[in-house]
């Protein structure tokens, strides 16, 4: 029987099969951040255990960092303590730490790839569910809890049940108004919020082959929102080209050797998946969510449908959102726009946002937060003059962090107010108690920031010359 890409990486990292489906899996890269690690370091201390492979750990601060005035002290004493605890733990154990002020600081799932640390064929874990992002490189990457962080710190391994496997094969190409974000929102809306539970997903076919690395990261990032353990895409020339120029990626002869290995990371033709879906990219239009989990998504000009959710849950969700079945979102006044998060805060996303708003003005009543995913993205945006374009249109480019995706750092959306957000979760209170999140792409976010209300994106693009 043939092997999938997932099987090949899994097998190459299996230290031991304990019983049945339980494996000891070796981990190549362990990313850590301030929120989910302090208890793990304590755990090791209490058990008198050492960090097994400190060189395989990369640390940054992202969840709790302010996105303005990062040169000043963090005001929130608890956030400050958490950030300082990580810094101390890293110093003590000799772990590479990209803290506030460091030129490589940023959202953990943005910096790993852009520094050339995440590579094809690797196993990657992090105490954060959006670790699935790194699957874009053809790696097995998944989020773990704090106990598992302690386990990986202590042994560089993890105990895992081998998941089942699912493949999404997409034919065709996107139209101008459809973006990579719409692809994943579309998939999740079809599969539901737990359709992927127990599975690892491979994305294949011309649609994904044509995608940039940033686009693949956006897609893999949200695999967790349908319950999947993670998602991955086979590495190809696009992947190799992206990796080549990165700071810590292998160079010269090592790169050549690596690429010849990475080229073997393909799913065999005769490999069998537990589940397989095929769809056509041309059906994908700009998407938006209307409910309180990411699977509650529609094409932006559709009406809110009756879903297969239970009646109670649908009612609860729509009550929270202040919306009704059968209602259209077109014309709805929007006061907040958040452009950022590990889903959509890379340079390509900022370029798209800037392209839309260039020569236009932000609607007066809209409050927008434009947050780059990393310091590097921030500097790149400045280098390209995107900050100027944003400023002239009434926007401000902030500093790097998770920001209003999770609202831990004080960047929040007020209760009962709507926010068009390029992030990944629209759960109740996710962006602040009572906040109402509508997930969408950077293209949709930019247009709505200009218009101040939800509009039909295809209509808008017909009437406005954005893509020349």
């Amino acid at each position: 029987m043939g092997k999938t890409l997932f099987d090949k990486i899994w097998d190459a990292h299996t230290v031991k099969n304990i019983e049945g489906d339980i494996y000891v899996l070796y981990i190549d890269i362990h990313y850590i951040h301030e929120v989910t690690t302090p208890q793990a370091f304590n755990e090791l201390k209490e058990r008198n255990l050492t960090i097994f492979r400190p060189k395989k750990i990369i640390a940054t601060t992202d969840h709790n960092v302010p996105t303005t005035n990062q040169n000043l002290q963090i005001k929130d004493p608890l956030a400050k303590k958490q950030v300082n605890t990580l810094s101390k733990n890293c110093r003590k154990h000799g772990i590479q730490f990209y803290g506030i002020g460091n030129r490589y600081q940023g959202i953990v799932h943005v910096i790993g790839p852009e520094l050339g640390i995440t590579l094809p064929g690797m196993t990657v874990v992090c105490g954060d569910s959006h670790t699935s992002t790194h699957g874009a490189f053809g790696s097995i990457s998944f989020g773990i809890g704090t106990s598992q962080i302690a386990i990986v710190l202590a042994s560089q391994c993890i105990l895992q049940n081998k998941p089942k496997q699912m493949r999404f094969h997409a034919e065709g190409f996107l139209r101008k108004s459809g973006t990579q974000k719409d692809v994943i929102l579309y998939i999740i809306s079809k599969l539901g919020s737990f359709g992927g539970t127990g599975y690892f997903v491979e994305y294949s076919g011309p649609l994904f082959e044509e995608m940039s690395m940033e686009g693949r990261m956006t897609v893999c990032n949200m695999s967790i929102e349908m319950g999947a353990k993670g998602g991955l895409v086979s590495p190809d020339e696009t992947t190799f080209k992206y990796i080549k120029s990165k700071k810590f990626s292998p160079k010269s002869v090592f790169l050549k050797k690596s690429i010849s290995y990475w080229k073997t990371l393909l799913t065999d033709k005769w490999a069998i998946f537990d589940y397989e879906y095929i769809f056509d990219a041309k059906n994908i239009r700009p998407m938006i969510t209307y409910g309180t989990n990411p699977s509650m998504g529609i094409k932006i000009n559709e009406k809110i449908p009756k879903t297969n959710l239970s009646k109670d849950q649908l009612e609860k969700s729509l009550r929270y959102m202040g919306l009704k079945i059968g209602e259209s979102l077109i014309g709805k006044r929007i006061k907040h726009v958040f452009m950022g998060s590990c889903t959509n805060s890379r340079i390509e996303d900022l370029r798209l946002f800037a392209k839309v708003v260039q020569g236009r003005k932000k609607a007066n009543h809209v409050q927008a937060m434009i947050v780059p995913g990393s310091k590097k993205v921030y500097f790149q945006a400045k280098k390209e003059g995107l900050n100027k374009i944003l400023k002239e249109s009434g926007f401000e480019l902030r500093q790097a962090g998770c920001s209003a995706c999770i609202g831990m750092n004080g960047d929040k959306i007020p209760s009962r107010e709507y926010c068009i957000s390029t992030s990944n979760r629209n759960f109740e209170g996710r962006q602040g108690p009572g906040s109402r999140t509508l997930l969408a792409s950077p293209l949709v976010a930019a247009i709505i920031a200009i218009e101040g209300k939800i509009v039909d994106i295809d209509e808008y693009l017909k009437n406005n010359n954005i893509f020349h």
Binding site: V15, Y26, K81, I158, E225
Partner: protein, 192 residues
């Protein structure tokens, strides 16, 4: 980890699907650097509603029952610490989100998956008769309720961990020789 063998308790019913970990413990409470004290903020934002089940003194017990897909979303283990700190030892549903389940198993909170139909029966009875007792027998992997019994799955390794109060760190910390050997054998796939 605390040992677990048998539990006999009434239960708290929460018949809601897709409860994400942001509801179990909102992100503003994740700033602690220890594992204690999260229980008081369990389902914090739902507790503002006076009708919420945790505000109803009729429903108490060491078992939390939820509709399918409990614990989706964020990987925060704080959700498990909050549930344990509040006093629960078992969570019952028809299925759990992956990371939530792994986190529960690593903390001695037993996640039990039962059939939709059995879950429905339990909900109906417990909601009407809050003092109804559920019996959990880990050794035989059984849930007893009223006159019904259902077997649940747990892998042998994790079951042993619960019965003996042992965990993955202990297991892997003793495996370092094999891990060392693996590293030497597999230079190619490791970082340059």
């Amino acid at each position: 980890m605390e040992k677990f063998r048998l539990l006999r308790s009434s239960a708290v019913p929460l018949p809601i699907e897709n409860i994400d970990t942001d509801q179990i413990i909102p992100s503003r409470f994740l700033k602690n650097t220890s594992k204690v004290g999260f229980g008081k903020n369990l389902f914090r934002d739902w507790r503002f509603n006076p009708d919420f089940v945790l505000n109803n003194p009729l429903y108490v017990g060491k078992i939390l029952i939820s509709a399918r897909n409990l614990g989706c979303g964020s990987s925060r283990e704080h959700a498990i610490w909050a549930i344990l700190d509040y006093g629960f030892r078992v969570v019952i549903s028809s299925f759990f989100a992956d990371i939530f389940k792994e986190n529960a198993l690593n903390n001695g909170l037993l996640p039990i998956e039962i059939s939709e139909i059995f879950l429905k029966n339990i909900f109906e009875t417990v909601i009407q008769y809050p003092k109804s007792i559920i019996n959990v027998d880990l050794e035989n992997q059984n849930v007893f309720f009223e006159n019904q019994t259902e077997k649940f799955n747990i892998n042998f390794y994790k079951k042993t961990c619960f019965l003996h109060g042992s965990d993955d760190i202990e297991y892997l910390a003793n495996l370092k020789k094999e891990i060392d050997f693996f590293e030497k054998k597999n230079k190619l796939i490791l970082r340059n």
